[in-house]
């Protein structure tokens, strides 16, 4: 059986095709203001990547904030459900899934089959993790990709407290004025974001094993801060940003059985 998962996220649309246990295609497009168009493009790209036509797909399922407007299917699964399902498929021993995107963070406690037992989503004023690192990287005049790695060079913990991303930026400015090395600032920023995410994860409990999915998982500084803060190893699946789409493809397969 071949199924497709489409993740219509706030920033990117991701498409994944799954045949048995083989991923046939992975594509993504910037969502912009016309996510449906972006989804069509990503979907077409996925078809051409594996040389299939839409008729070859047995079922399609959507997830993400825009899941209800997906042009290809009415079937959908929430981000919470998809993240859990996708992660458990890849790493069956995981019980806590942390999913961090640009503006929202989620923690999911799940059972063996990927069934969601409890979940938490960050409340207001929680300073969107993705957006936050972007703006700080800009304030420090460091490319985003390097900003994460930079923090691994620091050994020093500087507490930051601002709840708000913009005020945190002023704290960073104060650190800059105090001639704090960039790597220490980078670590302070990652620690601050990780601390907020960990706060939320603690609501559902840190149950081994723990996985981090979503685009932020590519940031080694954040992963490091998360591991230090929770005092536990964090599994990052290959292609962490596609785990939601994978979960949707798996849901499609389950439902059409």
């Amino acid at each position: 059986m071949t199924t497709a998962g489409i993740d219509l996220g706030a920033k990117f649309v991701k498409v994944l095709f799954l045949k048995d246990d083989e991923v046939l295609a992975r594509t993504q497009e910037r969502a912009g203001f016309e996510p449906i168009e972006a989804a069509r493009r990503a979907f077409a790209a996925a078809l051409s990547e594996c040389g299939l036509t839409e008729n070859d797909l047995d079922a399609i399922c959507a997830t993400g904030a825009g899941r209800q407007v997906s042009p290809f299917t009415k079937d959908s699964v929430t981000e919470v459900g998809a993240a859990a399902k996708g992660t458990i498929y890849l790493h069956p021993s995981v019980r806590t899934v942390i999913d961090v995107g640009g503006e929202e963070g989620r923690a999911v406690k799940c059972g063996e089959t990927g069934k969601v037992e409890d979940f938490a989503i960050n409340e207001q004023c929680a300073a969107g993790a993705g957006s936050f690192t972007e703006s700080i990287a800009r304030a420090l005049e460091v490319p985003l990709e390097e900003f994460g790695k930079l923090s691994l060079k620091s050994e020093k913990s500087i507490p930051m407290n601002a709840q708000c991303a913009v005020f945190a930026e002023s704290e960073v400015v104060s650190l800059v004025h105090a001639k704090t090395p960039k790597e220490d600032i980078s670590r302070a920023v990652h620690d601050a974001i990780a601390s907020r995410i960990i706060s939320m994860v603690r609501r559902v409990g840190i149950n081994n094993e723990v996985a981090l999915v979503g685009g932020v998982a590519h940031n080694p500084g954040f992963v490091d801060a998360l591991e230090r803060g929770m005092e536990t190893k964090v599994i990052v699946p290959e292609h962490p940003e596609y785990v939601g789409a994978l979960g949707a493809a798996l849901t499609a397969r389950e439902r059409s059985r």
Partner: protein, 374 residues
């Protein structure tokens, strides 16, 4: 000169552990300055108020909802992280809703042998509060006696109340020196002195106060006084903040905080029934806003301090989300301003970002300061 107080303040856990090794008693955590410490002390225990750690933390989210104040969160975090693992007992004298959360969550999740919720009245302005509170204190005494397996005699209570009164009198003496044109003691030193009295055996604290007082009286300050400031508001043991304020041309000369003057301002009057005497002392003390209704008795008290200590301006601070103080801030500002005291309002968190605070303080000093710029 204040090194002992700093040491106690910074190494409070070491002090407590050391105390435990030398005494046949337990450490009892107190959750509010209304805790009637005399009873705990007379039971052979060391009362120790849980004050701020000023460390960011991520462990209280499952227990306390985000709109509750950072101080109550900071308190609970220390318990959850095991910072007070030597503390066998905890108690709260009923205070604000936020601190009750810390207490009940601590009781639920941090192992203790003994806990007591004392139903201290909120309406201290009714005469009925006196006998009621004395009655509740009897229950607390009974409960402590049962836990410790020893009697708390009236004589022991009287002796303790005298020891506490002495501590209050000595700290008053230090505060009096702050009325001088250039006080021999900084606001930061005063804060550390009072804060440490929350953890240290009053006998030790009194001895140290007696040791430094003569020296202090003849101390020549090595700094200019600058603007004389008063600081008023919710729980505050943020010495870093005071340090910053005193580094930009000002001296904090008096305060109205539960972690400051409010803690020791009045003393126990002995009228025969020691339990009633102790109860009265807490009913009559300068009130927390939580207990300051229907009249606002705190305001004239604050004004009197501002006048007696001849302050140039008042910084009103408040822990973020602290409802009792938020309910007082607007009328307090009006009241002080109408009595010609300028005010600056600041909001506190577990750690205070010094950069943004500094500009507010400096701008305030430019307002209250002399007019050299014009």
């Amino acid at each position: 000169m204040f090194s002992k107080f700093y040491e106690w303040y910074e190494k409070r856990h070491d002090y407590a552990r050391d105390w435990l090794s030398k005494n046949d008693g337990e450490v009892v955590g107190c959750f509010c300055s209304y805790a009637p410490e005399e009873l705990i002390y007379a039971a052979g225990c060391l009362p120790m108020r849980v004050l701020g750690s000023h460390e960011p933390q991520d462990v209280t989210e499952p227990h306390i909802f985000g709109m509750f104040c950072p101080f109550c969160r900071d308190v609970l975090a220390q318990g959850l992280k095991g910072r007070y693992d030597y503390m066998k007992g905890i108690m709260i004298a009923q205070s604000c809703i936020h601190l009750r959360q810390s207490f009940t969550s601590w009781r639920n999740h941090v192992p203790v042998d003994y806990s007591f919720y004392l139903y201290m009245p909120n309406k201290v302005q009714t005469e009925h509060a006196r006998s009621y509170y004395a009655g509740e204190l009897v229950k607390f005494r009974d409960s402590l006696q049962k836990w410790r397996g020893r009697e708390i005699t009236d004589d022991a209570l009287r002796e303790t109340a005298e020891l506490y009164n002495e501590n209050r009198r000595l700290m008053h003496e230090v505060y009096d020196l702050r009325k001088q044109p250039n006080p021999p003691i900084s606001g930061r030193e005063a804060m550390v002195m009072v804060a440490s009295s929350f953890f240290v055996d009053k006998k030790d604290h009194n001895a140290e106060l007696k040791r430094i007082l003569p020296e202090l009286k003849s101390r020549t300050p090595d700094r200019e006084c600058g603007a004389r400031l008063m600081i008023v508001g919710s729980e505050n043991d943020d010495t870093e903040f005071i340090k910053m304020v005193e580094s930009v041309g000002a001296t904090v000369v008096v305060d109205d905080h539960c972690t400051g003057s409010r803690y020791f301002w009045n003393s126990t009057q002995f009228n025969g029934d020691i339990m009633q005497d102790i109860a009265n002392r807490y009913i009559d003390r300068p009130p927390c806003p939580t207990k300051d209704w229907e009249r606002r008795d705190r305001f004239p008290h604050v004004l009197k301090l501002a006048q007696e200590f001849n302050v140039d301006g008042v910084i009103t601070i408040q822990q973020k989300f602290c409802d009792p103080h938020e309910g007082d801030m607007v009328p307090l500002k009006e009241y002080l301003n109408s009595n010609d005291f300028p005010t600056l309002f600041l909001e506190f968190d577990v750690t205070v970002p010094l950069g943004p605070m500094r500009i507010r303080v400096e701008a305030f000093l430019e307002i209250v300061g002399e007019e050299e710029l014009f």
